[in-house]
Symmetry: C2
């Protein structure tokens, strides 16, 4: 039995492969309350200091979806931890082109002792004890490995950006469809409970009204090392550069706010910055919808870290400044204002916008894995059909990214969006 | 002797024509501390209930600049109060085309009993006891009345937008220059101490670095009555509509953040909305500087009240959501982040942006009047030259507004900015 105490604000105790919430732990010497994450009926109190020794394995009701990881990318550290923390998933395998690297990753990231360690990606796909794969490979390798995974009947959790272009993404989706496997991209913030709370606000005609304007900026000030060596500056790896990396999030946020209605046309901002290899380091654009709705986005590797989303309706305004990765792991805020105005002489606002804080025991990336695993489980156990919502959202994001690139290539002309 | 208690958080006691701070007044029955606003050495304690009776007039060191108001516009209510509260200014006259309206305004807005009330604008300009005029007339009347005021040697505090276009504004400025009078526009937030604090941050190469991106949005959701009747929807009154009203502020904020360096070119966003009379109800644009700096602005009368300014540098980010009119009259905040980043697994930010709050005893519009009056006083008393900074900033704002309009008229083509 493996029990590990994770030093979070809201701790997680891992019993065998099942994590449980430990709430309100002032210190390791306190009594702790263990709540079985997936079976709300179960709870018990034990002294925190004894947790490692005395906690007996909890009943486990649901299937553990067994996930194999392709490659040892940096982001795989966060996601392997997320898989470990998810109540319905486990890391079953890790594969790298170098067995040594895979071993080192497994050890450094506390993968379960029974996780298989392979010296190739193929071996992960061939492992009958792997249900699904998480693919954090460079984008140029996505089509090859996601398609192969689907052909081997492995469900696919694919890092963003999903592909180099929509045509390539369609090949991935066709492979997933024809093999009956679930597809989901790795956009974690979609799964934060804050996102659902903000959707409630945007959908509320009384509080928000009709959507008119969206602004989304994700800028990152990277170091000189990154600008030289990161895969996101290499035309043969992540050829979409800043657009594919941070731009993906900004565009996704806009589509999310627009409830996934595609804009009619896209016009890139002038002055995009390319590196010597021709990869985008900075760009932006304006998206126009048929009904007059407008959105701006901007993304770059050359400015200070900023992560803004603002949506303005006829009756309300939504904003937040950490939409991709919340300031804090276990709580996140947004600001909402409804029918704001001024006092009589316009010397103060009445009412003013209010802050809404949403707490979450499980970090957003764990909720992403949990959602993915529950879809996989439904397919495996109940024979459900794959959920089409996720690939559809990924595809729309890629479509807009393609249109931005096309507009840049055509001298900042408007590009109409097809399907 | 006139003493009035104003019901503010931080009260002001007016002794004769001089206002003094009254700090920390829990109720009218408490002792109050009177601090002479302009002579920090003076202070006394009296019971608040006796203030009206017992307070003796304070020593007054400086000249009271005597301001005449042209017209009874809504905004004149706020500014006449500001003139009354300013330590170095007084309302000397109000003129309207209707004597009755002027009388009603004087009474409703507690103008000093010795303020002259006139049935014409000309009479204000002809009053030898008027040093300066505040002109809140519709923009189409600015050139005529501001020029006439300057010719009559009256200093000019002119509501924004300053003119219908730069050519017209240049006539105003020429008149002010040749008559040696001070010009200032009515952009109040320029004078808030928060603005100076934010400038410190933007100017700090260590904390903010090099400016890269600016976003400024000011949108207003007006009621149907406004859309039918307000002067800002009428082509013969405020012909620049939303661009001249809220757009003025958004563009000014961008220029302020750029330390008044003019952009090289401006491209209007597509899809501006006009009313039936051809007045802009909604528009936006992108400003491009030679060195790659980019700014977006948006302004409209058709979306919920939003007032955002964000500036991103290479090392820091500045943002605020109430830049034109602070949420509270006596304190205002902005958010600044320097070299923000993430923790090791990107599950939280470290460090995070911080909120900076700036308090002010005098509201920003009072500080505007005080600044204007002190420039006037310097000219009157010390023979100083008019301060050129203010008309120069007004002119640049108008130049960008003109370029936005030109870009719209030319089918959203880039418009190069002249001087």
């Amino acid at each position: 039995m493996l029990i590990t105490l994770f030093p979070y604000k809201s701790l997680l105790v891992r019993c065998a492969t099942k994590p449980c919430h430990v709430e309100s732990v002032p210190s390791y010497h306190s009594k702790i309350k263990i709540i079985n994450n997936t079976r709300d009926s179960f709870s018990t109190i034990i002294p925190a200091t004894q947790a490692l020794l005395t906690l007996s394995p909890l009943q486990m009701a649901e299937t553990q979806v067994r996930i194999g990881i392709l490659g040892c990318a940096d982001i795989a550290r966060k996601v392997s931890r997320a898989i470990s923390l998810a109540p319905n998933a486990t890391v079953a395998a890790i594969g790298s082109r170098s067995l040594e690297k895979a071993k080192a990753f497994a050890s450094a990231n506390n993968l379960p002792p029974d996780a298989k360690i392979y010296g190739s990606y193929e071996a992960v796909l061939d492992d009958p004890n792997v249900d699904a794969v998480y693919v954090p490979l460079p984008t140029s390798l996505h089509a090859r490995w996601a398609v192969l995974a689907a052909q081997k009947k492995k469900h696919v959790l694919l890092e963003k950006p999903v592909a180099l272009n929509v045509a390539e993404f369609d090949i991935i989706i066709e492979a997933c469809d024809s093999n009956g496997v679930q597809f989901m991209d790795g956009t974690m913030w979609m799964h934060h409970p804050r996102t659902a709370k903000m959707r409630e606000f945007l959908s509320d005609k009384q509080r928000f009204g009709q959507l008119k304007l969206i602004n989304s900026w994700f800028t990152l000030g990277v170091d000189p090392e990154f600008l030289k060596k990161d895969i996101r500056v290499k035309p043969d790896l992540d050829a979409q550069g800043a657009l594919g990396d941070v731009g993906w999030y900004a565009i996704r946020a806009i589509l999310w706010a627009a409830d996934y209605e595609l804009p009619k046309k896209v016009i890139a901002l002038r002055g995009p910055v390319f590196n010597e290899a021709g990869v985008i380091m900075s760009c932006g654009g304006t998206l126009y919808w048929e009904d007059g709705q407008i959105a701006n986005f901007y993304c770059c590797f050359l400015s200070h870290l900023t992560m803004d989303l603002t949506a303005i309706g006829t009756k309300g305004t939504l904003r937040l400044h950490d939409f991709v990765a919340p300031f804090e792991e276990h709580e996140a805020s947004f600001y909402a204002g409804t029918e704001l105005g001024f006092n009589e002489l316009v010397t103060a606002w009445a009412p003013q916008p209010s802050e809404h804080t949403v707490t979450t025991h499980l970090p957003q990336e764990v909720l992403m894995v949990r959602e993915f695993a529950s879809l996989v489980e439904a397919i495996k156990v109940k024979g459900s059909r794959p959920e089409k919502k996720w690939p559809s959202i990924s595809r729309k994001t890629q479509l807009v990214m393609d249109a931005v690139k096309a507009s840049i290539e055509r001298g900042f002309e408007p590009v109409e969006l097809g399907n």
